[in-house]
């Protein structure tokens, strides 16, 4: 784990200590500022129930997190292979697993930072509703689960593709494919095939769970089990996929011969 921590610290220094690499956090906060101000002061939007405003804000936070995590994770591992630094790092006592773990921790740190930035907005939006703690707890839990699943998926793709461009394109298309049905209303998903897809779609599960928690005030973990179990399965499946990718790359060797 110490070796993974070394990679994690190196990655964080690279990601956060320059203007260029950290500007996304400021832009994300500007987006959250604009969204929360609009939701709380716009005449038409402020007619909505407060819990629905909180739900909209939670969707924006998770949406930004998924986009940032997908883009960052696409370049983290594939970039090392492209620039040829992966070989040098893996010549040191750091194993491929340690390398991936370190990168994984830095993606989770980026999500944690985005969540910290969104805290004041969550507190302001939930003020007086009595749901502030539930909002914070479930946004953190559901966001972390979906971020873990997506990061594992993107890292596995990056290990197979070893190209930032291909990894980013595929990951973004998958993200879009999963996010698009989540924006449709329930009446458009009436058939058994669409209902099954809704049940296994992690983004739909996150949005539906937040709706159930914030709008319908169902706070207990047990009452949200129908959303949490598919999310946990998604995490397990993508982590297994990542494990398979690491094993394959370890077996084939890091250096690929043309």
């Amino acid at each position: 784990m110490t070796r993974a921590t070394t990679i994690w610290k190196k990655e964080l220094r690279r990601e956060l200590c320059t203007w260029k690499s950290s500007l996304w956090l400021v832009i994300a906060s500007l987006l959250l500022s604009f969204t929360s101000y609009l939701l709380l002061t716009n005449k038409e939007l402020s007619l909505l129930d407060q819990t629905e405003l909180m739900w909209l804000l939670s969707k924006v936070i998770i949406g930004i997190a998924l986009l940032v995590v997908t883009i960052e994770a696409s370049g983290m591992i594939a970039g090392e292979f492209e620039s040829g630094t992966a070989e040098s790092v893996l010549l040191t006592p750091i194993s491929l697993w340690g390398f991936v773990k370190g990168k994984f921790l830095s993606v989770l740190t980026l999500w944690a930072m985005l969540f910290v930035v969104s805290l004041p907005y969550i507190i302001v939006a939930a003020a007086g509703s009595g749901e502030t703690l539930a909002f914070l707890a479930y946004a953190a839990l559901l966001g972390t689960l979906v971020v873990i699943g997506f990061t594992a998926f993107v890292f596995a793709l990056a290990l197979f593709f070893r190209s930032s461009k291909n990894t980013l394109t595929t990951s973004l298309v998958v993200l879009l494919a999963l996010a698009a049905p989540a924006l449709f209303s329930g009446t458009l998903k009436s058939g058994p095939v669409l209902q099954t897809m809704s049940t296994i779609n992690p983004i739909e599960n996150v949005f539906a769970a937040l709706d159930y928690i914030l709008v319908d005030a169902k706070f207990s973990l047990l009452s949200n089990i129908q959303y949490l179990v598919p999310l946990l399965i998604f995490c397990v499946v993508t982590l297994l996929f990542l494990g398979y990718a690491v094993r394959t790359v370890s077996r084939q060797g890091v250096v690929q011969h043309e």
Binding site: L16, S22, V26, S36, L40, K43, Y121, V124
Partner: protein, 175 residues
């Protein structure tokens, strides 16, 4: 001649009776038990309690009830998509003098004046049966907390920019 005219009158009466039968409403009584004027603020939930009774001398089948909401200012019907999760309730069959409760949870989505009726129709009748009108006055929701959101919306990006600036400076000094 009088026999022919009597026959024509009889046929006319019979035809009239047939046509009138086709255009009758089911013998149902729809009542709204909750207040006939409901006031609230946008975002509030209210439950409209009602009953449906078969007042005829025969059982009725294939009965469906649904809400009809009209914006009385815009003079337009309202799409119930966000207002009520249950737009219609299928009753099925009802026995003679049987009374069933009808409850609708309604979410006030937008400020304005509205009129609501419960409508029932049966598969064997061509006309629907309508309840008396309940009127809603939905007041606009006062903005939640613009005084609190403004400082957060302005200060958070500024604080982040400051932290970013400090982090970059510290790194340059260390190098």
């Amino acid at each position: 001649m009088s026999r022919w005219s009597s026959l024509l009158v009889l046929v006319g009466v019979l035809l009239n009776a047939v046509v009138a039968g086709a255009d009758t409403a089911p013998p149902l009584s729809l009542r709204i038990l909750s207040s006939h004027t409901l006031n609230g603020t946008a975002g509030d939930y209210v439950t409209v309690h009602g009953t449906i009774t078969d007042t005829g001398d025969a059982a009725l089948s294939d009965i469906t009830t649904y809400l009809s909401l009209v914006d009385t200012e815009a003079k337009l019907p309202v799409d119930l998509e966000d207002w009520s999760a249950e737009k219609g309730q299928y009753i099925g069959s009802m026995g003679v003098n049987q009374t069933l409760p009808l409850d609708w949870k309604i979410h006030f989505v937008k400020a304005g004046n509205y009129s609501l009726t419960i409508v029932a129709q049966s598969g064997a009748h061509d006309l629907p049966c309508v309840s008396p009108v309940t009127r809603f006055v939905v007041l606009p929701k006062v903005n939640l907390n613009p005084a609190n959101v403004l400082p957060v919306a302005f200060l958070t990006p500024l604080v982040l920019l400051l932290l970013l600036f400090l982090a970059t400076r510290i790194r340059k000094v260390e190098e």
